[in-house]
């Protein structure tokens, strides 16, 4: 077996494994495993409507933050002398 093929096989397999590991770590960090029941119920219950809900919540958060930003901007505003 040539060196380069061995390096390629080792590299690809380790890389793919690492991708899986990173996905797992990301799931752990974002709290997806905190509640096992929710994890399964998501698969059981979540449909189009829940997706819409999630989008709605994100929108709500964005709006609230923008409003806050504007207000702080207003507060910071001082008319020129």
């Amino acid at each position: 077996m040539s060196d380069s093929i061995m390096a390629l096989m080792l590299g690809v397999s380790t890389f793919l494994g690492a991708l899986g590991l990173i996905a797992l770590l990301w799931g752990l960090r974002s709290g997806q495993f905190d509640d096992q029941a929710k994890f399964l119920d998501g698969a059981r219950f979540d449909g189009e409507e829940e997706l819409k809900d999630a989008v709605m919540m994100e929108k709500k958060k964005k709006e609230a933050l923008e409003k806050k930003k504007k207000e702080t901007a207003k507060k910071d505003y001082r008319p020129a002398d």
């Binding site: 380790t14 029941a37 929710k38 119920d41 219950f45």
Partner: protein
Amino acid sequence: MARVPCTHCHLEFDESVMITEEENGKALHFCCKGCQGVYHLLKEEGLDTFYDKLGNQTLEPADRTREKKEDLERFDLEGFHKKYVRSTPEGLNEIHLIIEGIHCSACVWLNEKVLHQTPGVIEASINYSNNKAKVVWDPEQIRLSKIIETIRNIGYNAYPYDPALQEERAVKVRNDYYSRILVGVFATMNIMWIAIAQYAGYFTGMEKGHKNILNIAEFILATPTLFYSGWIFFRGAWYGLKNRFVNMDLLVAAGATLAYLYSIYAMITLEGEVYFDSVTMIITFVLVGKYLEVLSKRQAVDTLDKILGSMPTEATVVKDGEKALVSIENIEPGDLVELKPGEKVAVDGILRQGSALFDESPLTGESEPILKQEGDEILSGTVCLDSVVRYDATKRADESLLHQITELLGDAVTKKPRIEQLANVISGYFSVTILSIALLTFAGWLWHSGSFETALIVAISVIVIACPCALGLATPMATLMGISRAAKRGILFKEAAQLETMAKCDLLALDKTGTVTEGRPSVVSFQSFEGFDPKLLLSLVSGSNHPVSRGVARYLRERYPELRTLELENYKEIQAQGVRARYRDKEIAGGNAALMEALAVPVEVESRETLFLFAVDGKISAVIELRDRLKEGAFEAIATIKALGVKVVMLTGDHEAAAERIAMEAGIEESYARLLPQDKAELIDRFHDEGHRVVMAGDGINDAIALARSDIAIAMGSGADIAIEVSDVVLLEDRPADLADAFLVSRRTFRTVKQNLGFSILYNTVAVPLAVLGYVNPLVAALSMSLSSLFVVGNSMRIKLGVRNEE
């Protein structure tokens, strides 16, 4: 009459008592107004798919009384916000709530859905397993009270908890370890199969190019393990050095780092072997062990939150003749507080008006309610049972007993200093010894051979061979066997190390009620006279909840299984005396001597036990003696424990006479009576100061602090949640015999651990000098490693076999 399920909560009731209405030609049944309200609310909001998700599950009926408006105001008070609400960096508010009434995933769905639809709520997520919720909202759009009201409207209740109280930190630590272990395990698994190729190549020969590629692959895998997974050891070693002591972390970190650095050198120069596999394995295995330690600490936290959550948050304060609900943080000493039956006392005080029975079992564990009269002290955490009373607060809420207990518990749960200190001392000596041997070896070889490289290889092999891997198996293997053997008997050790600690203990402190005794008075003698009618007596006592009445009722039901109760009139419970009623033309009464005296019934009985007298028409018809009995096998178990050389003492909140009697029966020479929860804990501390190692066995909240303070805490399986949570050992069957068994198993296990350790030390004393002399090559190391492990495993198996022989 047919039973039909409630359309909302699905509980079944008689159709006649249901509220019935019609909707689109379909009949709807509701068990109460609350359920009806929630059903229509969900329908209007378009959330009725909730019922599809609910399936056949039942709920608690929605409680309308929760919708009291005045109680909601406290959620907007400044003091409340200061305590529970946090600001996020974006300027939003965040609170952690415990949601009451969640039974199934559909409940979680409904709560989240409703909160999501509420304007101003930015984020809401509920954890099904512990019913905790995190809610983020925009304070300019909605007030917190409105959010709580929304949750209450759909039939649930929410109360806040303080996540800063360890919970969040504990979860964070756990997740952190988890990620690090994942990385470690991933790298170890991959490095293993690369290492197999390496070993094969070492013995059969391998091209330099191949070897180099394998080396590099191992290097890539070992690097994140050492620096990410192994970070915990570097940190631990650094903290240790800063505080001027050497610990196991330093040994692990030094061994792994040196092996890693040398391997890089070998990889670059293509001279010698790399040890990347050892690096990842040492780090991963020791890390898993550490993680298990962290896990065991976590469990207690949830229960603590539950206790705090059930603490009253407000009380009725009477000012200038007007009543007002005041948050307990705002109650000042001197305020007049009103208590209704069933309410929990929020702040300590002194009774001013009225008298009532108080259930002090949450504090003292004693089952009998205590009559408190004007001038008596009232303690927080106790429950007022039967009348409305008013009392003067004498302390602020945060100085009151209940608050202090929870604080103490919080402290005790997070640290068990004695055991940890000891472990640190031992591993410290071991680490120092190995590190100095390695250093001397390095110096010796450098001087002897003059080659820096050889000296480094030998020194590293010394550290690697002495790393906890070899010694590590000795204890866990034996304790694992001990634990599984104990578990078969219904004795659950929560942590392996506890077996060892327990074996070293020389004092057993027992709680009386529920541990040594059955915890409920039962009939020991029953004497009836002419005209005695068991039906009458049963009817009388089954109306009362007093433990004595319950004991009598239990006895009667056992003796006369067919007995039916009769309809009594004028039923009256007389505080701390007994009960009286009328049946047709008969006046009947049952209670203690004081009651009979009050009714002018002549009594000529005296007894050391609790006495229950039953009179019909002014004549004694039955005399019953009750006693809290010793548990079966308690005497034998205590004798066995004493034979092991363990001193046994008894701690109780009960009065001296009762304590002495039980102690005598159980064969305990030393007993301490009238102890409050802190007193018990102080006694445990005193035993510690006297040089004892203490095992404490108990079952109530009142024992929780003492349990947490002792070296080993044993809880009865039927005991209070908190007691079970803070304890190290749980006896599932509540048998005193298991207590003795726990001692036996722990001692046998400890003996095996000592044998194993002795062997491992022997192994180290042979292997380390060989390594020092430079004789260790990979083959010898691998063989001796697995052989020594096999020996340790085999020896540990003897715990199971040995005990079987004994039986």
